[in-house]
């Protein structure tokens, strides 16, 4: 999520230094728990007296709820509580109300799988039997699931009478958002072009595809105090939402995050947690809820699908004279800003005199979209990078040279407004050009694709606290669920700053009562923001420890410095004292003023944008239309890789999710508006045998906004693969591909159509 991006707003944090711990590859602190099966994920906790709850979901894509009769369910032996939308509190903000209505339909169901009621019972089996006894009378309404169809005047209206802000005349009532970005005179720019390519592209909705289904365990007593255990990317978000929906003070609800089995943005909102809490409140018993995989597909995530027109003009030597994109996204039945992010990112890789992007969000009868890794960017950049590739092809120009000629750099006025500070796009492109992959020969039916990618990165609200223990070790508490190794990188930054070994630090993710507020683990923000707060918490502890040493030495605290994990006098004038180590200071802390701790709270800024370039070689079988990924190399600017293994892991994982998006993955709806492939058999994510090794090349162009130069790395990696693979397939198949996924039948049809 990007909400308050201000490039260059914080430029004074970074200072060059030699690292001792940062940049090494120690085993992750939660590793042994995870290889032995000891780690507790969302569905792994039980409580004494626990009930199990399941959800009744709409069989219709669009219907008015005339009535709900729960009496039959309540009468069944073993049923302890039933809730519907009547059991939740009306919300003050439309955003919260939409999220609540998505958790439990109010008045209307908007998609196949929309929750209507929930039952808590002594077992899952009894709860499911009870669901069959709930009588819902529906008035079925016409539905729409396609983005372009949703914009037609003839489309059924989802939210009758609801007004959305800043929608221009001429759009129908399903358009919930409209945005414009850009600068310069595009008409004049296109007039200067030697060649103009205009194309339309479509991308399918894809699911985040985390292997762990949503799961939660909630308790609430008659004293109004509650507890939630949940797999989530943000337990403070869960606390705030669930408390608001059930109508209690946030202080009375403690949320503890489980280990999280993947999220990719899909666990940045609530589905089950408020429902489990309401059932716990009504029944007076702990309530566990776990989604089935079918429910995950039908009712959580996915990302938006898109329909985009791109027009780019170029001179014959490769300079882009103007770019324009019109992006239409649908993200299901409730408003969202993903199309806006698409419009902001579409041309971000380029330094352009004239650029314009227009974006619409359209409401459709599909599940409420959730963030998915760089939300909005992959599909926008796919369309732009496909057209850039086609221009290079038509002008017989090298695609990396053209991108270098037009690349955004420090001082570039970006296509979405801010002026870029230090960025790594040029270095990343140069690394790709110089890599042996780029010069390797291609075989028959093979093609090579190139694409740039971009993500803003987010910073945001962050709290970190650390205690200096009497044995010279350090306990760190952070408040962001560790989704890919962040406890390792946070421990490393604490150790680096304090000047102690990595294994003297243990970092845990605390519950909502442990430390101050934290934004959700999203926007590639954790290594940046939590790292920044950890470094500053360490500096606070160091200041305290220097004061203790000064006290013992009888000198001024300002005359004490911190070097290699010990207090030292600052120069000869301060006096001659041997270094006093962290362990020595900690051991005597009771005598020098009590416990030593450091903490830092900040609404961080200066996340620093991240660029990547992907190279892929594909082979297309002209007989079957099947695409094989032959070779894949990722180049990405990490600012500074704290733990390079996990930076590479983010780059590799993002690339493979993007490959799935390009080749296989899609939400398939029937004429009846029902999802037809709600399972991993028919919604096919990449498996090990689909892939080669994914080479990862880390570039380090320091981010001025972070003390160690860190940039977020989690999201950029999913942005380039869509266009990189599409460009490779287009070259291999000899025909420009304009719709994702590029499934074998679609590729065959394109080959046949071009004959």
């Amino acid at each position: 999520m990007v909400t308050e991006y201000k490039e260059g707003a914080a430029g004074t944090e970074y200072s060059k230094r030699d690292f001792k711990v940062v940049g090494t590859r120690p085993p992750r602190p939660d590793g042994v728990d995870k290889v032995t099966g000891r780690a507790l994920f969302g569905a792994d906790l039980t409580a004494p007296g626990m009930l199990h709850a399941t959800i009744l979901r709409s069989p219709h894509a669009h219907a008015r709820i005339v009535s709900i009769d729960i009496s039959g369910a309540l009468a069944l032996d073993g049923v302890k509580a039933v809730v519907t939308s009547n059991d939740f509190v009306k919300q003050g903000s439309s955003g919260n109300q939409d999220t609540l209505d998505n958790c439990m339909a109010r008045g209307k169901v908007f998609y196949d799988g929309h929750a209507v009621a929930a039952v808590a019972a002594v077992s899952v089996k009894v709860a499911n039997e009870a669901l069959k006894l709930i009588k819902v009378e529906y008035e079925v309404l016409p539905h729409v699931t396609d983005v372009d169809a949703g914009m037609l005047d003839s489309a059924p209206v989802l939210h009758e009478g609801r007004k959305f802000r800043n929608i221009p005349e001429g759009n129908n009532a399903n358009v919930s958002g409209y945005w414009e970005f850009g600068h310069g005179d595009t008409d004049a720019g296109f007039a200067k072009a030697d060649i103009i390519v205009e194309r339309s592209f479509k991308t399918a909705a894809t699911h985040q595809g985390y292997i762990e289904p949503h799961a939660t365990l909630a308790t609430m007593g008659p004293d109004g105090r509650g507890e939630i255990w949940a797999c989530t990317q943000g337990h403070y978000m869960v606390r705030d939402m669930a408390a608001a929906f059930v109508g209690m003070d946030t202080s009375q609800l403690r949320v503890t995050p489980s280990e999280i089995g993947g999220g990719f943005g899909g666990k940045t909102t609530v589905y089950l947690e408020p429902v489990a809490l309401a059932l716990a409140k009504k029944s007076g018993r702990p309530v566990k809820m776990v989604m089935t995989r079918e429910e995950v597909f039908r009712a959580s995530g996915p990302t938006t699908s898109s329909s985009t027109d791109v027009k780019i003009g170029m001179t014959k030597d490769g300079r882009i004279t103007a770019g324009q994109a019109k992006l239409r996204y649908q993200g299901g039945a409730y408003p969202n800003i993903t199309a806006m992010l698409g419009a902001m990112t579409a041309f971000a890789a380029y330094d352009l005199d004239a650029v314009q992007t227009l974006a619409w969000n359209v409401l459709t009868n599909r599940p409420k979209q959730a963030a998915y890794r760089a939300p909005g960017a992959p599909m926008a950049i796919y369309a732009v990078e496909s057209v850039v590739d086609e221009l290079c092809q038509k002008l017989d120009l090298d695609p990396i040279d053209v991108r270098l000629m037009n690349a955004a750099k420090k001082g570039t006025l970006s296509s979405y407004g801010p002026t870029f500070d230090e960025i790594g796009l040029v270095a990343t492109l140069e690394a790709a050009k110089a890599h042996p992959h780029y010069a390797a020969p291609l075989g028959p039916n093979q093609g090579r694709g190139v694409s740039c990618g971009f993500w803003f990165n987010f910073a945001g609200n962050t709290s970190v606290s650390m205690g200096i223990n009497e044995d010279g070790t350090v306990s760190v508490i952070e408040g962001n669920p560790d989704i890919g190794g962040s406890r390792a990188s946070i421990s490393m930054m604490a150790a680096e700053e304090l000047g102690i070994p990595f294994d003297k630090v243990r970092t845990i993710v605390g519950d909502t009562n442990s430390i101050g507020f934290n934004d959700v683990t999203d926007g590639s923000r954790v290594t940046f923001s939590v790292g920044l707060a950890t470094i500053k918490a360490a500096r606070a502890a160091i200041k305290n420890m220097c004061g203790r040493a000064a006290q013992v030495w009888g000198i001024d605290a300002d005359a004490v410095d911190w070097v290699d994990g010990a207090a030292v006098p600052m120069g000869h004038n301060a006096g001659e004292f041997p270094p006093m180590t962290l362990a020595e200071i900690a051991k005597d802390s009771a005598k020098t003023g009590g416990p030593i701790a450091g903490h830092h709270e900040v609404n961080a800024d200066g996340a620093g944008v991240s660029f990547g370039v992907h190279l892929v070689d594909v082979e297309v079988d002209p007989e079957t239309g099947f695409t094989e990924i032959k070779r894949y190399t990722v180049f990405q600017d990490a600012g500074k890789a704290i733990h390079p293994d996990y930076v590479e892991g983010q780059m590799q994982g993002g690339a493979v999710q993007g490959i799935g998006w390009a080749l296989n993955e899609e939400y398939i709806y029937g004429e009846d508006g029902k999802l037809q492939n709600a399972g991993f058999l028919d919604y096919r994510i990449p498996v090990a045998s689909d892939l080669p090794m994914i080479d990862a090349v880390i570039l380090e162009i320091p981010n001025p906004g972070h003390p160690y130069g860190v940039r977020g790395v989690g999201e950029t990696g999913i942005v380039p693969p869509l266009a990189a693979v599409a460009n490779g397939v287009s070259h291999a198949a000899g025909v420009r591909m304009t719709e994702l996924p590029m499934s074998p039948p679609r590729i065959l049809a394109a080959i046949d159509g071009a004959k």
């Binding site: 590859r25 085993p27 992750r28 939660d30 590793g31 042994v32 995870k34 290889v35 032995t36 099966g37 000891r38 780690a39 507790l40 994920f41 569905a43 792994d44 039980t46 089996k125 985040q208 595809g209 985390y210 292997i211 762990e212 289904p213 280990e259 999280i260 089995g261 993947g262 999220g263 990719f264 776990v290 089935t292 995989r293 989704i483 890919g484 190794g485 733990h643 293994d645 996990y646 590479e648 892991g649 983010q650 590799q652 994982g653 690339a655 493979v656 999710q657 399972g679 991993f680 058999l681 994510i685 990449p686 498996v687 090990a688 045998s689 689909d690 892939l691 090794m693 994914i694 990862a696």
Partner: protein
Amino acid sequence: MSKIHVSTSINGDAVEYLCDPSETLLDVLRNRVGLTGAKEGCGSGDCGACSVELDGRLVCSCLVLAAEAEGKEVSTVEGLADGEKLHVLQQKMLEHAALQCGICTPGILVAAKALLEKNPDPTETEVRYWLAGNLCRCTGYDKIIRAVMDAAAEMRGA
């Protein structure tokens, strides 16, 4: 319906349980025996997160009825380490940073162990096809494949 009494062996320990006729081995492991290392990612045999060995054969425990374990030997991720000593595969998964969220890790480990018992010297392609039934959404499989290949090499040398 009355429950079925099952006597089985789990990770070498004799275990008895009562289960419903419709209950899966995964449900019993997780909910009755208290072994939550095997995970339910799909319940339909598509993701491999619930992989266990049943008499030495790699199975998705979500597709096996709990009653079928009668008289058999069940091996789960919890049985992989020997006390404080990690199995080579576990050690190599850590060394290669072959996990991010870790939800697929137990299934991958059990499946990889089953592979190396059959084929101590697999090619990369053989490892990739053997693990094709174990979905990982985080890593892109690169580091997992390297970890398994490295473990195989070390186990052959040992």
